[in-house]
Symmetry: C2
Subunit: 550 residues, 2 copies
């Protein structure tokens, strides 16, 4: 018995609000450049509409529309949308400066927020119910007569419907009759539950108006509320990448789209584009500097990761046992995690994935013990594959000596509290390929200075390290969980432009932990570089022996 | 028109799986002490069941049960539950060592995972459908005869029901007849949607068996799926605090409970306990060292925070416009955020909340400009109330000179890469109350060393700083968004034992940014200390003048 699947409507609109509603999230600050880059990713992913901001309300959004519509943003799939509100009480849409800003934005679609809650018409707009409808009718008609497509966001619709359903529906009817191509019911305070959606949305759909849905996650149900509205007949969904947004965030547009495509079997993106979901969400997270979150449905780094020993043995039998969809469909990967909860099965699978023979049960058991011992100290190999490989190589006696550190020091200083001339410098002395290297480095912090000194000391011997880049650096203070003093865990991501690897360091001193992760980052990169030059191992792009050893 | 509310069942079970399923999350490692502390919080919050782990499967879980049941954990609300599986194929429950471990765990309730999917019985257990039922019947009966209460987790139930519904239901019936007090339908791979729940759960409920629900968030619908099952008659809900768990996590038990209490109007916790939700979730996040996430429904730090200028003006009219429930009901707070998207209205409300008169529109506008200018440089005052107050005081000419830095330096060094004797030291020279102070400090990193030196230099003048503690330190690399070089933002949380405040620093050097946030942290604390000694401002506990100025 398959679950009952709703039928796809003839037209369906995927409408992204990351650049407006999403950017209202606490801690998120998007520059105009950021917004242009995000818009390009959204378009490439295949959403139908990109709400760019509110032209005329602040200089940044005005500049965004100016630049986006003058050649800096070429959209292939999406329409750029300018957001605004209905005209002022008692005025004329044709004379309203904010309406003019929409008209002059260069966007071909305008979305207007309108009141549909009788209380808000009285207490926030201070006007009559009739004038509110007139404002809506006038604003939509005016923009339509100017050649724009218009969408209406009916704010606080669900609370409004509860208080005075007839008036809320009158707002929907008025908007549709005036020419709005979608009337979007907004759960502005996010308080709805899925089982409450159907009745309200159906009532609006029955008017014959094209209905959209805009949900927030305050009850933890934004995605489910959106789906419930779609099942009741909504043909337009709004949301943000990574569920960004004010308070608890907006509906996660990628979860919504993935559920529609993979669970209902609808096509709401251009063919093949869903497989870009993970890349899109992660790239946008890089730009916003607000992580997607490892547990985010479909696109999180943990979304298809398996740790428990019980699961790992089962996955050896059937990889689909613990995944609801094939991760490749959303561009994600199944990952086996190494951890102290894992049995030998995980470690063996993981070792084989990395190309090492761990079929010897004693060897695998010894390595498992060593992993458990290190994890007890605070190491986490779940997240640090490169450090796991170095540990495994050490255990198997396959760890080449690429360099040995003799000495290091780092100093930061300034004269005066707010002096701009703050300097961080470091000195590293090491031996590589029997040559002593002794260098100073300067950086924007002690770890960066150590990285610069280490890099300068390694480059004469291994010129390729100049192409390595540290792309992320994360610090966590570990609780003194076993009665010992608190220690610090550092994770470092490094890339050589082709692949990225993660290393971990632990110590009671953050510089010590950072230094361990840093040295292992170079060590891992160099081992793979050197092995490739001797015996290329397939897909990894090998530098020539001359480049590698110079 | 109010939404239709389901009726509460006569008995309802709230069952927490944080300590077992939750701890399988990537990156989470709980010590026995951690588990004991979390269990105490869960009990205080009022859940009915705490699944502690799997005794006999690993030494840590066995030790947890030993310590929990020998006086280290006193439970007032909850039953401690030992998790395990049905007896081995072809054996007898009475002779099974894992069943014995449950019996001997000291817990009064056992939860057994059982297969309900015909494919898994064949391919994972390699046995017959009849033997699977016999294993279930034998295991439940045996533990019941030993005086234990028994709950069954029917693994992969929804996929199993789809493949062979009759067998899946036979498993439910068998478990109930053998004496299980709840048969929990598990959406093990998290692939369900809310609208698919009703039919399956209803079919199980119609058997007359007490039904529970266990959801994962792989479709982004774990909370909604749980509610859909409850609406279909489930009387037992499982989930984890903060939605912890493998892959995308389990259903967030606090969102589920808050929705049941606040949206359905049911009582599923002891009276008054829901107001402990935020404190409980945040305290457990401290122990797990995996943050709850600021946008987490109900308990996130951003869950009731408001930033947009439009909202802020509306909130001046009615604070309930943009909150779906009163935040006090879950122990959370409404917060106004200061940000470059905010208009003067936010800044004025914020200033008034802090006790400053910003009714002068010119003054408020100047301060707003200053905030926008600083935020353009990378400061974020959303998260750093104390730095906002210092900025406002500077603008209003109300910033007392508590100390002036003359000079600082910090050095970290080691001989050899893995040497344990790594030292971070710092020197700070400052003037406070016309006295020059010149001190060295040692720490587990350069910022900690600077903190120690600064603290030593301030203590002779202001003995109270010895009671200040830095509780959190967060670093973010800011994109060079306006074409300038990348900069770093540091946020520091400081507590004096009574209240906690947050300061922000920005610079191209991480030490520079940390130093700014650090100095401001002491500055803010000292200003409030000194003001309290002169003119106590109410609720804040004031130290005596002697303590303060020594």
């Amino acid at each position: 018995m398959a679950p009952t699947l709703p039928t796809a409507p003839q037209t369906f609109q995927v409408y992204d609000v990351t650049l407006r509603d999403g950017s209202q999230q606490e801690g998120m600050q998007l520059s105009v450049n950021d917004k242009l880059r995000i818009a390009a990713y959204l378009d490439e992913f295949g959403v139908g509409f990109i709400e760019g901001g509110w032209p005329g309300s602040n200089p940044k959004d005005s500049e965004f529309f100016r630049r986006a519509t003058s050649g800096e943003l070429e959209l292939r799939n999406a329409e750029l949308v300018a957001f605004g509100m209905t005209r002022r009480v008692g005025g004329r849409a044709a004379d309203d400066p904010l309406i003019a800003a929409l008209r002059d934005s260069g966007a071909r679609v305008a979305t207007l927020v309108a009141k549909s809650h009788v209380g808000h018409v009285a207490n926030a707009l201070h006007t009559t119910l009739e004038e509110n409808l007139a404002m809506l009718r006038d604003s939509v008609s005016h923009l339509r007569s100017e050649g724009m497509r218009v969408i209406i966001d009916a704010e606080h619709f669900f609370d409004g419907y509860r208080l005075d359903g007839a008036y809320a529906l009158e707002v929907v009817r008025t908007a549709a009759e005036a020419g709005a191509e979608a009337v979007v019911l907004c759960d502005t305070n996010g308080g709805m539950l899925p089982s409450w959606m159907g009745e309200v949305v159906s009532a609006a759909v029955e008017l014959g108006a094209p209905i959209g849905i805009h949900c927030h996650n305050d009850s933890g149900c934004a995605v489910a509320n959106t789906l419930a509205a779609v099942e009741a007949g909504a043909m337009h969904v709004q949301g943000c990448v990574n569920g960004y947004g004010e308070r608890t965030g907006n509906a996660d547009i990628i979860s919504v789209v993935a559920n529609l495509e993979l669970k209902y079997g609808w096509k709401v993106l251009p063919e093949g584009n869903l497989a870009e979901a993970t890349r899109t969400a992660q790239a946008i997270a890089e730009i916003t500097n607000v992580p997607a979150g490892p547990r985010r449905a479909y696109i999180g780094t943990s979304a298809f990761a398996h740790k428990a020993g019980l699961h790992a043995s089962a996955i050896k039998v059937d990889p689909n046992l613990y995944q609801h969809v094939d991760p490749a469909l959303v561009g994600n990967d199944m990952r086996m995690l190494v951890s102290d909860m894992a049995g030998r099965a995980n470690i063996q699978i993981k070792g084989e994935q990395l190309g090492f023979d761990l079929s010897d049960r004693t060897l695998a058991a010894e390595l498992t013990d060593r992993v458990k011992e290190k994890e007890l100290q605070g190491y986490t190999f779940d997240a640090a594959d490169a450090s796991f490989e170095l540990l495994m190589r050490a255990q198997l006696g396959q760890l080449p000596d690429v360099f040995t550190i003799k000495h290091w020091t780092t100093t930061s200083f300034a004269d005066g509290e707010n002096d701009a001339d703050i300097v961080s410098e470091a000195v590293v002395k090491l031996v590589a390929q029997r040559q002593v290297q002794y260098f100073v480095g300067e950086g924007n912090g002690p770890v960066n200075a150590l990285d610069m000194a280490l890099r300068r000391a390694l480059t004469p011997v291994y010129p390729a390290v100049d192409g390595y880049e540290l792309t992320d650096y994360r610090v966590r203070i570990l609780d003194g969980s076993s009665g010992t003093e608190a220690s610090v865990r550092v994770l470092i991501d490094t890339t050589n432009g082709e692949r990225t690897w993660t290393t971990v360091g632990v110590g009671t001193n953050v510089i010590e932990a950072s230094w361990e992760a840093l040295c292992d980052a170079y060590r891992y990169g160099l081992i793979h570089l050197l092995e490739n030059t001797v015996e290329p191992v397939g897909a990894r792009g090998a530098a020539s022996p001359v480049d590698a050893l110079a």
